[in-house]
């Protein structure tokens, strides 16, 4: 039992003395994971949509070649960044600049380098998730969109992605949680995240285990809160399951009237809030 009270004491001591370091580390970890995931998602959406651009023999030769080249590049990008460890990617990107320029150019901040690595890495995974999500949407939806004259990007924006997002959102959540943990390798390029705080503290105190306990609890807190928030978001997205009939004389409503006297806003789906309030 004395071991445990000793541990508690050590942990408390570390907390009291070094909490600014731990908190600063945590803040950087969350910020890097957040920015990296958001930028990674943007990359993923762009690459995923580009990857599904259809082409056929009717298209001009130039377009066909362009689409093929684009797909090849995206494929290579995905394979490269999914197929190598992020820690290596970080080192690779960080030291490539000074190596090729004989030290003349280097990343001005580890933030820039870290964000680049995390977002490009996340982008590779998200590209596949987005492509999968798009493909999983009923092909009839694409045909419906084509049949009314939408182009590929419009069909994606207004019809396909809003439906694909249901299967993509959990992937975004996964990636965010993975990033919270995996950004811990960024100490390799001297990024001061939560794990770097641990290295700093034990360097000064040699209290390896108590600090590791703090790290464990810290990471778990961050990931659990994220899971909780992500689940809330998913529920939000499920939306309403009921609607109200609009009971009124529709022909009077076609003559420039936009507010149904009986039921308020005619064109706003009022049941939306309903799902949020329950």
């Amino acid at each position: 039992m004395s071991k445990f009270s000793q541990l508690l004491q050590d942990v408390l001591r570390l907390c009291i003395k070094y909490y600014p370091m731990y908190f600063a580390g945590m803040k950087n970890t969350v910020l890097l994971a957040l920015v990296g995931t958001v930028l990674g998602c943007m990359i993923g959406f762009v690459c995923g949509v580009l990857n599904t651009v259809p082409y056929d023999i009717r298209d001009p030769f130039r377009k066909r070649v362009l689409v093929r080249i684009m797909r090849t590049i995206i494929r290579a990008y995905v394979e490269l960044f999914r197929g190598t460890p992020m820690v290596l990617q970080a080192v690779f990107i960080y030291y490539a600049l000074p190596y090729f320029t004989d030290g003349a150019a280097r990343f001005s901040s580890v933030w820039a380098a870290s964000i680049l690595v995390v977002s490009v890495n996340t982008g590779a995974y998200m590209t596949e998730s987005v492509r999968g999500g798009i493909i999983a949407v009923d092909p009839g939806q694409v045909e419906g969109a084509m049949a009314i004259g939408l182009n590929h990007v419009q069909a994606m924006m207004y019809v396909i992605l809003p439906q694909a997002i249901r299967s993509i959102l959990p992937q975004i959540g996964n990636n965010f949680i993975i990033n919270l943990k995996d950004t811990s390798v960024m100490f390799m390029i001297s990024f001061t995240d939560f794990f770097a705080a641990h290295r700093g503290v034990v360097g000064a105190t040699y209290l390896y285990f108590p600090s590791a306990v703090i790290e464990m609890v810290g990471y778990l807190t961050m990931t659990l809160i994220s899971s909780f928030l992500l689940r809330k978001m998913e529920q939000r997205l499920e939306g309403s399951s009921s609607f109200e009939l609009v009971v009124a004389d529709h022909l009077t409503l076609t003559s420039g009237v936009y507010r149904n006297p009986a039921s308020g806003e005619l064109f706003i789906e009022r049941n939306r809030d309903y799902a949020g309030k329950d």
Partner: protein
């Protein structure tokens, strides 16, 4: 008085791999036409409509829209598709949008109308198909017949010059077929140009002014419903109708 041709299909062929699905198809859709396309399963009826809408690329031949080859449309293919409406067997309504939004999306994005105008027009069209009270509903909340009526409204909202229907009632429970056919009959009476792939022989006979019988990728026979139903010239037509009409 000669009616003006909207669509002319010339020597159209379509091959999937080595499987010839359409072979040297020639026919025309003129203003005010209501054309029924009938024929056994697998005869290429859907493929024909899909080629006209450029959902499939023809292997050979040409399709002229108002005299212009649709192969050469370039970027105009999007506004062409709006002018040639399509109603699918499986509805293909946008599941993420409300009934109203289904009917305004194309108006806003393809015809570049503003939201107010689009909603006003969509509401008029939805009332015509009896779906205005459901404008806030989502497709999954509707019955099959209601979905198909919305799908018709979605096509109509773009003011198409012709609407292509691919077995619009085949996915419906028998008791829901009537409501959709009624809407289509209304459209026909109001002068809408339509080409309808259908197994509803009564509809083909009563509503259309021309019936096309397809078999094995070829138009076997074409004529007025009177001619085709009472005095079919082709053996295959006779056999097919015999099976359908129980003669």
């Amino acid at each position: 008085m000669e009616k003006e041709a909207i669509l002319e299909v010339r020597h159209l062929s379509k091959t999937f791999g080595t499987n010839p699905v359409l072979r040297d198809i020639n026919f025309e859709i003129s203003e005010g036409d209501v054309i029924s396309v009938i024929g056994p399963s697998g005869s290429g009826k859907s493929t024909l409509l899909r080629c006209i809408n450029l959902l499939e690329t023809p292997t050979a031949g040409s399709i002229l829209f108002r005299g212009r080859d649709i192969k050469e449309l370039g970027k105009d293919v999007f506004s062409y598709r709006a002018k040639v409406g399509m109603v699918f067997q499986s509805f293909n309504l946008f599941d993420n949008l409300t009934v109203m939004e289904n009917c305004t999306l194309g108006q806003i994005k393809v015809l570049h109308k503003n939201r107010e105008e689009s909603e006003e027009y969509a509401l008029q069209i939805l009332s015509r198909v009896g779906m205005a009270p459901y404008c806030n509903a989502r497709p999954r909340q509707l019955s099959g017949g209601q979905k198909q009526r919305v799908a018709i409204a979605r096509a109509m909202a773009l003011n198409p010059e012709v609407i292509l229907f691919d077995e619009p009632t085949s996915a419906l429970d028998p008791e829901l077929v009537g409501e959709v056919l009624d809407v289509m009959r209304d459209l026909a009476e109001q002068g809408m140009t339509m080409a309808v792939v259908t197994h509803e022989m009564a509809f083909a006979r009563q509503v259309s002014n021309r019936v096309v019988f397809m078999d094995d990728g070829v138009i076997m026979e074409e004529g007025s419903p009177e001619e085709l139903f009472t005095d079919p010239q082709n053996d295959r037509t006779r056999e097919f109708l015999g099976r359908y009409l129980g003669r």
